[in-house]
Symmetry: C2
Subunit: 108 residues, 2 copies
């Protein structure tokens, strides 16, 4: 499937969902469009200077995206990207990444 | 075991390790002393405003700890904590958390 078709399928799926689940689905779509290039398709980054987002607390993600948008937290790329996000986008993306379950295995 | 005894045991274990593994063990000790209260004993935070550190890329952790130490990135607690860390501490803590293997399970 092309990205556009995946997007359309997600929007159709979102329309069939109860209201509570919709921000998360909208967040998945936005995350694929905006975040995945650097932070990985599953929120696990392969770039050495980009953090993993999967499983991060929503409150943390929301505050950091707002700080990037306002310029309080500085990063060349993130300051530009965050300016394209509405409050609703930020909450949706945060809901999506926070909903991942992560398991951490300590090094031996 | 008390925290002091765990610390002593880790230092003894570190002395017996090859040089390449030592920053990671020093990082584990420092992480337990300094980071675990907010970021969790395994680097998976239970605090809603503190990010998970387990499995984050070392380069990212190093740059953020340096930014907290210099004040470029602002956070009431982290600015104070990072000032107590040497360059060596920062590299060791980053090596420890980066060595975790993480698995992210997407929400259904």
């Amino acid at each position: 499937m092309t990205p556009a078709r995946i997007g359309a399928a997600l929007l159709l799926a979102a329309a069939a969902l109860p209201a509570a689940a919709q921000p998360q689905v909208a967040g998945q779509l936005k995350a694929q469009q905006v975040c995945a290039v650097c932070h990985g398709p599953q929120g696990v980054s392969s770039a050495p200077d980009a953090p993993n987002l999967a499983g991060q607390p929503a409150m943390y993600l929301i505050s950091q995206l707002r700080h990037y948008r306002s310029g309080e937290r500085r990063h060349e790329v993130m300051n530009v990207i965050a300016k394209t996000l509405s409050d609703q986008d930020i909450e949706a993306v945060a809901a999506w990444y926070a909903a991942f379950r992560i398991e951490a295995v300590a090094p031996r």
